[in-house]
């Protein structure tokens, strides 16, 4: 792509963004938003100023080709990105009106409110299924056995895993299949009752059946949570999300209701991507 066409694209994106942001997308309120969010790894600028809003109790999918910055974006939302050496973040991420990057905000407190599920299932190998599920709760200081039992069951049910593990709670989480491990990680994230759940390509390592199970649980989650899911799977974005953002080369190209994005994309790049011309 030539430099000219990129700058044309950037202007085009800006115009499109204005349109989509002015439109009243949904009756729900904004839970999380970014303001001119820029992220770097050393000298490489991975995010080039992202402005996006995530409506409350909705599933928002972020899609785009590999290397477009979608994973970095989601990792900026709970301040995990900055843990990587040489990683830098500029701009704002606003949770319920508060910039989580302002100096008086403790990232530890933010991460309790914004949970995360990672690309590859990462249960704690030395803990049982039960202890994995309540790990966050124990961090928060909960010791009451009944509370732990109740929360473990509730979050495992929400992750659609309870029926498969209820008799094996004391066993290691590593005995589970890949899909079950990922649902255990979802349960673990849910147990601390965060307000936002970030999912970074949660099904990329899973077979279709396990993927279906996870999508089922995502659909059920939006009743209680605001969900942001990164995916490079178009069908998945179409199936699970209410809103979709399309990113390319560190920029937000288009954002809107999933139906609109897939049926009537406004940006030719988005159209190219969803028709499979690149990606």
């Amino acid at each position: 792509m030539t430099k000219n066409s990129i700058s044309w694209m950037q202007n085009h994106v800006r115009r499109q963004l204005k349109i989509s942001q002015n439109k009243n997308l949904d009756s729900s309120t904004v839970k999380l938003a970014t303001k001119d969010l820029k992220a770097k790894f050393g000298k490489a600028q991975v995010l080039k100023g992202i402005n996006i809003t995530f409506p409350e109790n909705r599933v928002t999918a972020i899609m785009g080709p590999s290397g477009c910055g979608k994973t970095t974006l989601i990792r900026c939302l709970n301040r995990i990105h900055e843990l990587t050496p040489n990683a830098k973040v500029e701009g704002e991420v606003i949770l319920d009106g508060v910039n989580i990057y302002s100096p008086q905000v403790d990232p530890v407190a933010i991460r309790r409110r914004i949970g995360m599920v990672f690309q590859k299932a990462n249960p704690f190998p030395t803990m049982s299924i039960f202890d994995n599920a309540v790990a966050g709760l124990k961090l928060a200081g909960v010791r009451n056995k009944e509370t732990l039992d109740r929360v473990a069951e509730r979050s495992l049910r929400m992750a659609f895993l309870w029926d498969e593990v209820k008799n094996d709670l004391k066993k290691s989480g590593l005995n589970l299949s890949g899909g079950q491990q990922q649902r255990l990680c979802i349960a673990r994230a849910l147990a601390v009752e965060p307000e936002v759940i970030l999912m970074d390509e949660p099904c990329s390592a899973l077979d279709p059946l396990a993927t279906a199970k996870i999508e089922e649980s995502i659909a059920a989650l939006k009743k209680d949570f605001t969900v942001v899911i990164v995916t490079h799977n178009l069908q998945q974005a179409a199936r699970v999300s209410d809103f979709t953002a399309f990113m390319y080369l560190g920029q937000l190209i288009e954002f809107g209701a999933t139906k609109d994005i897939f049926e009537a994309p406004k940006n030719p790049l988005t159209e190219k991507y969803i028709t499979g011309e690149f990606g």
Partner: protein, 309 residues
């Protein structure tokens, strides 16, 4: 037509197998030599050699217990002091210096360098620096304030179990911290991030995610350090005082299995020499036992379908 060719693979296989067999042969030869050399001692003294507390070579009275005790006690002191420090160094380098790799790398090299210092140098340093330092600034205050505890009841002399243990601790720290550091650095970042994403502080991430994940490897480093403490001869011989002793008093001179051998083997003959070789045999078995026990515990810890996530 030729179907079979003697390929490089086959030759390499034979060479490698020979190397492996050579090691096995070496261990067998070592054990056999120790058994043969100590045969007359085993025959004359029997099991009483192991539990005997007197060692008078002039009267042919040989008891190994004070030396076994000295080896175990000094190694225990070394581990008690050295293990927490090693763990701290390793955690600092691998978890806290994440963003400053050059500094962490440099610190790692310095730690590794400590392992390369010959033990006789440690011994000299122990005699001239560590002994007066510990005697005047650690042992004497401990004795004066906590002398009612049997551990500190003795009159501080400097050449004792305590100094030997501290010196050994310094010598096992490089081994233990290097292994622990390597083990911590291979803990996948996804494990740390999982704990961070639940709202953990830096220390909680280390304590609840990194250390448990790496525990078998850390235990391996612990055992390597213990092995080094058991076998270390020269430095300990120079600072322990070399008087066979079984006492809870840490400020008393003692002797270890290896210091006994180093001090007396040269001038020994006949049954006396055989007794000293039997001491070597005991050291061999103590080391074997500890390693075996460690491996058993490691196996217990890692079994139960615990792989790597």
């Amino acid at each position: 037509m030729q179907f079979k060719v003697l390929r490089g693979d086959t030759i390499l296989k034979i060479l490698l197998a020979t190397a492996a067999l050579f090691i096995i042969g070496l261990v067998v030869a070592l054990a056999a030599e120790l058994f043969l050399g100590s045969a007359s001692s085993i025959h004359s003294f029997g099991p009483s050699f192991l539990i005997g507390t007197q060692w008078r070579s002039s009267q042919n009275v040989f008891g190994a217990l004070p030396f076994i005790y000295g080896t175990l006690l000094t190694s225990a002191i070394a581990i008690v002091i050295g293990f927490p420090i090693s763990l701290g160094v390793a955690i600092f380098i691998s978890e806290k210096l994440k963003g400053h790799q050059t500094f962490g790398y440099g610190l790692g090299i310095i730690v590794d360098l400590l392992a390369a210092v010959p033990s006789v140098i440690y011994g000299l340093w122990g005699v001239f620096i560590l002994i007066p330092l510990l005697r005047d600034y650690v042992e004497t205050p401990l004795h004066n304030s906590l002398g009612f505890i049997p551990l500190f009841s003795g009159n501080p002399f400097g050449y004792d179990f305590f100094t030997s243990g501290v010196l050994l601790a310094i010598m096992v720290i490089p081994t233990m911290s290097a292994v622990t550091r390597d083990v911590l650095s291979v803990v996948p970042n996804s494990q740390r991030e999982a704990m961070y994403s639940l709202g953990a502080t830096d220390w909680e991430v280390t304590q609840k995610s990194v250390l448990p994940y790496a525990r078998s490897g850390i235990f391996g480093g612990f055992i390597l350090g213990l092995g080094r403490a058991f076998g270390e001869t020269m430095a300990v011989t120079m600072v322990i005082g070399n008087i066979p002793n079984i006492t809870t008093n840490l400020f008393s001179a003692g002797a270890t299995l290896s210091s006994l051998i180093a001090n007396n083997f040269g001038e020994s003959t006949g049954i006396y020499q055989s007794a000293i070789i039997e001491i070597g045999l005991i050291l061999f078995f103590v080391a074997l036992l500890v390693n075996g026990l460690a491996r058993f515990m490691l196996w217990r810890m890692t079994s139960g379908a615990r792989g790597r996530a």
